[in-house]
Symmetry: C2
Subunit: 456 residues, 2 copies
């Protein structure tokens, strides 16, 4: 049998996981693998960028899981600084441009993996591309930011957007000694939480000396000397800024796929089947931040840019291309984050998300501690739980607390996957010892209150 | 309707939870509640004793969740230092002796809750009751130990038994500046783990300067001046000891129940139905360390003395007595513990436990870290996973690591409850961010390896 040709577009988590996994299952005589990455880094942890920016971890090398050389040694022809500019599905080929030389070339494929990732949302504001305004999506972005911070003399930073990236970057800049203002259009930071839980984040951030301005839309970037950023303008006023970081979230980077006619969902992400094949295309696969995933709680597809999903997608794609069988069943919407010592977590649906898909909920919010109350380091935490009215099925959990709070959300993530009721959860046999939990784990306390709300 | 009379034997977690819950549902005009506790403390955290002994937490008051006075203020007639000496089921009454005055009295009941707890195993060795030999089951025991430590001039401690209590007490005594030797009959410490995982605990304890002697049976306690403990004798040698702590685990305290003819299981614990009624007795309830619980993984009953179960049992009993409806479906065998900064966790079955109930297993052991490898404080951890041959159903997980290791077992506890396969677990949507987890959570890494072992 002739060797098959696998082409991968995008050299980060999903793409290189797929390539690596396929290579483990098929040797070079059976499968050639060519991967194109337009940036200068491959197989890296974009999630680590805020910690690099904050000086908590070294970068960029420490954030690279596997170097291009290491990939090439394993028989993957990884072309760096090479951008795919066109997908020709009918011709089973892609056109790639060497960004250094400018040369373009067509490459044929039998299997194609689209792993083009996401791009930071950049609203069409005046000045948005001015020097001193940074995105933080790629290691190249991170390097540009760090270079910029070194050159900047001033110490005022404005972060636009108070989602995960926004609050993590607020911490990073605060660690670097910046006076940080976060400007958010919504009424509370962390719109991935219900507003009542977001309010707890706001309060904690204010306590850390981070200025959180909410309910305020940015109207433009004001530039000064040499066209460099000078301030962020809102409807109400201007916030002086020596550095501006965009933390507005990301959109699926699917312009190439769209141009080729591949199917996109409501969020603009590629639509795949459970094996991560692009719908309607037997030999085109997609994974990572450029796809939509099935939300197992709502039954809808949604776009969630997260390294852990990208790695799983890559594993599934590589297994299938390598002749095995694997599927990605979907997500339940788990996310964890921190701002300084504040831990933030969610899984499942928010109240508004549940309402949007026709689910009626009861909610319960409780306060407890991470350890037995008498044990040193017992930190308070707030747990909010959503259950379906009538059935009592768990629909979501949100947690805001300190050390030991965030990863407790995993219990709810598994319970959501198993479609447990909150009543069933009250009896869960979770680990108990005074250094690790009160005798009733906070998740169980929330489950008890939610169960009582379901069936008073 | 005349008021009913509830009598509770045992004033700790299960008993007082039941009493408190029943009181919340029925007022004093509907239900009188009398509780008898033979000790000087009620509603306390026995699990906190090792931390009190180690000086990590204050005691004994800090370990008391609710004082006798607070219970009485809520309409529960709690009689301290009063021991029930007989249960007369036919006559629906118990005989109680005031340990101060020696007076005995019969008390009638309509509902009886047996919550007599557990007693530490005390092998019939010469010298086992000598001054300087301590159990650590009750707050009274803890107070006796602390008083003893203050009087003891020497600095050599021997802990007999290397289970949870044993290793926690080894840490406590080590913190107090004792030279600690732990003597264990089995081949490794923590026989609640498979031997290969127990070996990791042994290695870590040795690194902390705690001498762990295994495969060695204690043959007697050697006494010296004034009959006080002087050494612990084994088959091979004597270990000089100024203080000896018994960490041999506990047995259900069911002598009273047995004398009354209530049904006991193979471990000597009371057998109940799902509502926590003693089997065959409509108005006698039992919970906490004196009962056997259904192990949902093996399908057998077993004895597990753990405060979190006792509290759940009390909640169920009190709800049912109070006219509501609740059940305790069973456990999956979760336990977490620590020795200094070492975290130890298990859930489900060990290899030997699986074999004993006819289950054939495949196992997978992996090493990973608590956070992204590049993030500060990323500690190594070892995760062992057991799955059923053929079906791939998860059967158990054991974890040994440092900070952030133990509570990860909760993910497996929920997965066991939901009877998930390890293959299904590989796709679990667990919280990921660099400060909290590698991009593949260690539990997922173990699940991947276990799934590959099930279906190579």
């Amino acid at each position: 049998m002739a060797e098959r040709r696998l082409v991968v577009i995008g050299g980060d988590a999903a793409g290189m996981s797929a390539a690596s996994r396929a290579r483990r299952l098929k040797d070079a005589g059976q499968l050639t693998i060519t991967a194109f990455e337009r940036g200068r880094f491959a197989s890296y942890s974009a999630c680590g960028i805020p910690y690099w920016a904050g000086g908590v971890v070294d970068g960029p090398d420490a954030l690279v899981a596997r170097t291009p050389e290491a990939h090439r040694e394993r028989g993957i022809d990884l072309r760096m600084r090479t951008e795919v500019t066109e997908i020709d599905l009918a011709g089973q080929r892609v056109r790639a441009r060497d960004l250094t030389s400018g040369q373009e070339q067509w490459h044929g494929f039998d299997d194609l993996v689209v792993a083009t990732g996401a791009r930071p949302a950049r609203p069409p504001l005046e000045g948005i591309d001015a020097p001193g305004v940074y995105g933080v999506q790629t290691l190249d972005d991170g390097q540009a930011l760090l270079d910029g911070l070194e050159q900047s003399a001033g110490r005022r930073a404005v972060v636009i957007g108070a989602g995960y990236i926004g609050v993590e970057m607020a911490e990073a800049l605060s660690r670097r000694g910046y006076e940080v203002t976060v400007v958010e259009r919504a009424g509370q930071p962390m719109s991935t939480l219900d507003p009542d839980m977001g309010a707890l984040v706001r309060e904690a951030m204010s306590g850390m000396g981070i200025d959180v301005v909410t309910g305020t839309a940015v109207t433009g970037i004001v530039t000064g000397d040499g066209g460099r950023v000078a301030a962020v303008a809102t409807e109400d006023r201007e916030y002086p800024a020596d550095v501006v970081v965009l933390g507005l979230g990301v959109r699926p980077e699917t312009r190439l796929a769209d141009a080729a006619g591949l199917p996109l969902g409501e969020s603009g992400g590629l639509l795949t089947d459970l094996a991560m094949r692009v719908r309607g295309h037997g030999n085109v696969w997609a994974g990572g931040d450029c796809v939509e995933v099935l939300d197992l709680v709502s039954g809808r597809t949604r776009h969630i840019a997260l390294g852990t999903h990208a790695n799983k997608h890559g594993q599934v794609i590589g297994t299938n291309i390598g002749g095995g069988y694997a599927t990605f069943p979907g997500v339940v919407g788990t996310a964890v984050s921190k701002v300084c010592d504040l831990e933030i977590a969610r899984t499942g649906l928010l109240e508004a998300e549940a309402a949007a898909v026709g689910l009626r909920v009861v909610t319960a919010t409780i306060e407890s501690t991470s350890r037995a109350g008498y044990y040193p380091g017992a930190h308070p935490m707030t747990v909010k739980m959503l259950a379906e009215r009538g059935t009592g099925r768990l629909l979501g959990v949100q947690i805001v607390g300190r050390e030991g709070a965030a990863k407790r959300v995993d219990v709810a993530a598994v319970a959501l996957t198993a479609r447990m009721t909150v009543d069933r959860m009250t009896a869960l046999d979770l680990g108990y010892a005074p250094p690790f939990s009160p005798v009733w784990d906070p998740v169980l306390v929330a489950a008890r209150k939610a169960a009582a709300a379901v069936a008073p």
